[in-house]
């Protein structure tokens, strides 16, 4: 065996077998409502487009029928041509069965707008409110004055801050937030300032 510790890699962790199941259940709950959205009568239709024919102008007919009834004879209700011309007229008409789910659309747009709104609020909070309520920390200064080199790292103060008793929920949240902010700052430097990645 090359690496003796490799054989320890598969350590059975019951915790990990619970999480996929949980996620699956969650995904199912999220996806179920749109998929099972009760098809209200407004959401299906058969649309027949009939072009101009002789002296009759073009017209669009909509009717709420099922897919097997979606053809010219069922949908074009006040038939504009006399009986023997119906077949020729119907050959020109094109009928399509369409369905949609208004609930899905509404849910998705509302979700999207709320996520954008939440992000905007968080950004406003970080830019405006956060510097005011947070004490000016000694480590933010070195971060701003950091040299453009990968090797030097003035993260001296970080371990002391983060390594302190991170027991209460608030402190843990703060610790995670500080870590995330550092990550984003590092990413921003790589992409925007040093142009090392992503042209």
């Amino acid at each position: 065996i090359l690496f003796p510790q490799a054989s320890r890699m598969f350590a059975p962790s019951s915790r990990n077998s619970v999480s996929p199941v949980l996620l699956l259940v969650l995904l199912g709950c999220v996806l179920c409502p749109p998929a099972q959205a009760s098809k209200s009568s407004e959401d299906i239709r058969c649309k027949c487009i009939c072009p101009p024919y002789r002296n009759i102008s073009g017209h669009i007919y909509n009717k709420n029928v099922s897919q097997k009834d979606c053809n010219c004879l069922h949908v074009v209700e006040p038939m504009p041509v006399p009986g023997n011309d119906v077949e020729a007229y119907c050959l020109l008409c094109e009928c399509k069965y369409e369905e949609r789910s208004t609930t899905t659309i509404k849910v998705i747009i509302i979700i999207y707008l709320s996520v954008v709104g939440a992000l905007l609020l968080y950004m406003a909070f970080l830019v405006l409110v956060d510097p005011l309520i947070r004490k000016p920390d000694p480590y933010t200064q070195p971060l701003h004055n950091e040299e453009d080199s990968e090797d030097t790292h003035s993260l001296a103060a970080v371990p002391t801050l983060a390594g302190a008793r991170a027991n209460t929920v608030l402190e843990r949240v703060e610790g995670a937030q500080q870590r995330w902010k550092r990550q984003v700052q590092e990413q921003r430097k790589t992409v925007f300032d040093r142009h090392k990645m992503l042209s």
């Binding site: 065996i1 890699m9 909509n62 747009i109 830019v127 610790g175 995670a176 550092r182 992503l198 042209s199």
Partner: protein, 805 residues
């Protein structure tokens, strides 16, 4: 030396490797699906585990039997060791199989381990499909938001708003519920003032969307900009970019992709959808130990996720798998093929059930005609191929030049301003021309469409002769005035799109390349198609047409020309071959058009390759200096390993560690004074016989851990990499055994090995470094970066452009 200082200087990245190690004892673990290096969280105590078969005698308390948190993981911006990862996975699998015979629980564990891959693919497909549905519906709505709003419910876009009402045949788009902005504000929609107001609102909305997009990218996830495919290619070849496939990048990329597409910029969403799908794959990998801890297995999952991404972008599962195989992946074992297909199918099925376009189609521009084509039409198709190749080469050259300018000059210092200026120019130029005002997907859909009796768009305004119509089969007709207007508008749109895409791709918002190139090709194709159609109509007595195109027959389909043009341009830019043809024929749903598509794709690839060797993604990889070892090119020079290895003749000798004579302090000095990522271990300095190779990161972690946790380890303790402990006087401090972190089988070549073989070994095995021996003694080392620099030098490119390790 100060221990803290020692540790501080050793890690590269600001990712929380350090704090994770610091508080590994506490229960601090926020998110399981972190981007940080996977730590073995169960590592609390130091129970000596003898699974490795080492001597468990407690005379030397070997604290390094079990893996320390951090050992075996990689630093940011480094290459993984494929061989090590694969062997780790085999060991793990062997252990599980051996244990499965012991108890039922172990058997179940082994079965669930085997199925975890499939479950993961299912989850990836579901998540990717849902996100794609969200992106499609939101983008559709927001694009229409620039023009007006629906009174029946603000969440409806134009098409859905007019769904219920009775529209007339001539005015199919107008309905009372949909109000354009001028109608809403002024009360009426006609007149010059209303037009100006609409224009103004359009530009304002476009600017707002793109400003919001770039601010979100800059503020929350700077890695979310760009297309993502070059970086994913590099990641799949073994590079580590922490945070690139993380949660925040996923959220921001999804949100800002919708904003960027809706703002009318000349970009698409297919490339970023691949990035989104790979983020989903990476995040879901954290749920399964098998994939979380092993970088090589994780890349198999990412290949499958990329296939799912393309599958939902085009509604083409097979095309997605082939795209992943051809463009994105580096190693693609056969097992991954089947699993990728499964993930792509699940994703396509999920998207279909969300039904974003209201007619059970996955893509907006699904084509449904099946008109036959004639062999003589291959001539214009090959012309389109040549156009596609020329445009592709031109686009790559100019885009790379512009991106290089952005990287090196002051232009790059104002990303937000750049986005705003480009959006303003695009919006101002796009509004007057109806073909650029509509979203690019709709434009492609309209261009692909074959004109029937029922179409009322300008492009289909032919002179109709109703006496000769039979059914829906329209013959070739003379072009009416509407068609001529449409032609010159389309020509203007073509010129605008050709130039504005150069400046748009690579901006700091998520931007894809597929849709704009398909648009350029579709416009060119349609123009050519209409020209050929009119030529055939007016000159049906010429020799070339008289055989097959009699008057009254429907012989030329301009929609087909548009499709072929789109395929040609896309092939010219990305140099895709098989995957392109398969995607296009999955879009059309039939095999009739395979020959024209293949002819155009091959022609465009040959023409583009004659002008420039690289596709757009490879060109961006080279521009950014990623350490990507190109797998498709042959290395044809006659150099040997001794010409490439380090140290060169003028350099100081190779830095080595001896197996049992160096102290902790000596090793620490070596590690801090050099920046190499690994050190060979030899028997002794005089003999230079190779024992193994040890990585810098593992050394640092082990030494620090030993200093803290193990008794009696001081600066003068001997480090030994051997099985037995060296004979020492009884008063000396205890020995630090580090054999467990030593790689006992490093790859070696002799100094006379031709570089062709060395490059081949690096490619096929995915090595990071390779040791060079001479007459059995260690002479030097070749790393992947050296190989890349050598290739660049041989190709007369700048070898210093290889930036990363």
């Amino acid at each position: 030396m100060d221990q803290k200082g020692f540790r501080r200087g050793s890690f590269h990245s600001a990712t929380s490797d350090e704090d994770m190690l610091e508080i590994a004892g506490a229960s601090m673990d926020f998110s399981m699906a972190d981007d940080d290096p996977p730590l073995d969280r169960e590592m609390g105590g130091f129970s000596s585990y003898n699974g490795g078969g080492m001597n468990g005698t407690s005379a030397m308390m070997d604290f390094l039997e079990e893996p320390l948190p951090g050992v075996g993981t990689y630093e940011d911006f480094n290459t993984i060791d494929w061989v090590r990862e694969k062997s780790r996975d085999r060991d793990r699998h062997r252990e599980i199989t051996n244990r499965s015979k012991e108890s039922t629980w172990a058997l179940l564990h082994s079965v669930s381990d085997a199925f975890s891959g499939w479950l993961l693919m299912l989850l990836i497909g579901l998540l990717a499909g849902s996100l794609a549905g969200l992106i499609d519906i939101s983008a559709h709505w927001m694009t229409d938001l620039k023009e007006g709003v629906c009174l029946a419910g603000f969440w409806f876009n134009h098409e859905h708003c007019c769904w219920k009402s009775n529209t007339t045949f001539t005015d199919r788009d107008k309905c009372p519920e949909w109000k354009s902005w001028s109608q809403l504000i002024l009360g009426h929609g006609e007149g010059a003032f209303a037009y100006i107001l609409n224009y103004l609102m359009y530009v304002i909305w476009a600017l707002m969307f793109s400003l919001l997009a770039v601010l979100l990218v800059k503020g929350f996830a700077p890695y979310a900009c760009g297309s993502g495919i070059p970086e994913i290619k590099t990641i799949l070849s073994g590079f580590i970019i922490r945070g690139y496939l993380g949660k925040w990048t996923l959220v921001i990329k999804t949100i800002t992709l919708v904003l960027a597409v809706s703002s009318g910029l000349s970009l698409g969403k297919e490339g970023p959808l691949v990035h989104v799908a790979c983020c989903c794959g990476n995040i879901l990998c954290h749920l399964f130990t098998k994939y979380r801890k092993n970088e090589a297995k994780r890349r198999e999952v990412l290949s499958a996720a990329a296939a799912a991404g393309v599958s939902v972008a085009f509604g083409a599962p097979i095309g997605g798998v082939l795209f992943s195989l051809e463009e994105v992946s580096y190693y693609f074992p056969l097992k991954t093929l089947w699993r990728s297909f499964f993930a792509a199918l699940v994703a396509a099925f999920t998207l279909r059930s969300i039904n974003p376009f209201g007619n059970s189609r996955l893509v907006l521009f699904y084509v449904e005609f099946h008109m036959p084509w004639h062999l003589l039409e291959l001539v214009p198709f090959i012309l389109l191929g040549i156009f596609g190749g020329l445009w592709g080469a031109f686009f790559i050259r100019s885009n790379i030049a512009w991106c290089r300018r952005r990287k090196t000059t002051r232009l790059g210092k104002y990303p937000v301003l750049e986005v705003i200026v480009v959006t303003a120019i695009t919006a101002i130029l796009a509004f007057p021309n109806e073909y650029t005002r509509m979203s690019t997907s709709e434009l492609i859909s309209e261009l692909f469409n074959d004109c029937g009796i029922l179409d009322s768009s300008k492009l289909c305004e032919y002179v109709n002769d109703f006496n000769s119509t039979k059914g829906d089969d329209l013959p070739d007709r003379a072009a009416g005035p509407g068609v001529y207007t449409a032609m010159w508008q389309l020509a203007l749109a073509l010129i605008m799109k050709v130039f504005i895409t150069i400046f748009t791709f690579g901006m700091k918002v998520p931007s894809g390349l597929f849709i704009p190139s398909m648009a350029v090709g579709a416009i060119a194709g349609r123009l050519l198609g209409v020209a050929v159609e009119q030529l055939a109509f007016y000159h049906h007595d010429w020799a070339i047409f008289s055989g097959w195109c009699s008057p009254g027959a429907d012989c030329i389909t301009p929609g087909l020309y548009a499709m072929v043009g789109a395929a040609a341009c896309l092939g010219g830019v990305t140099r895709m071959t098989v995957s392109l043809v398969v995607i296009m024929f999955e879009l059309t749903g039939g095999l009739e058009y395979i020959v024209p598509l293949m002819a155009a794709a091959m022609t465009s690839k040959w023409v583009a390759d004659a002008i420039g060797r690289e596709g757009i993604y490879d060109a961006h990889i080279r521009l950014n200096g990623y350490p990507f070892l190109e797998a498709k090119e042959e290395f044809s020079h006659k150099t040997r390993a001794m010409d490439v290895m380090r140290p060169r003749k003028s350099d100081p000798p190779l830095t080595v560690i001896t197996q049992d004579t160096m102290t902790v302090e000596d090793v620490e000095t070596i590690v801090t004074s050099t920046t190499y990522s690994g050190y060979p271990v030899v028997v002794s300095r005089s003999s230079q016989r190779l024992v193994g190779f040890v990585l810098r990161r593992d050394l640092i972690i082990s030494i620090e851990n030993a200093r803290k946790k193990q008794d009696g380890i001081v600066s003068t303790s001997i480090i030994c990499f051997t099985d037995y402990s060296p004979p020492l006087p009884p008063s000396s401090p205890s020995v630090l055994k580090l054999r467990s972190i030593l790689d006992l089988s490093p790859f070696t070549v002799t100094d006379e090995t031709p570089m062709e073989i060395v490059v081949d070994i690096f490619r096929k095995l995915g090595l990071r470094q390779c040791l060079v021996t001479h007459n059995g003694k260690l002479l030097g080392i070749i790393t992947k970066k050296d190989v890349l620099k050598h290739i660049a030098q041989m190709a007369n490119q700048d070898p210093d452009s290889i930036l990363f390790n």
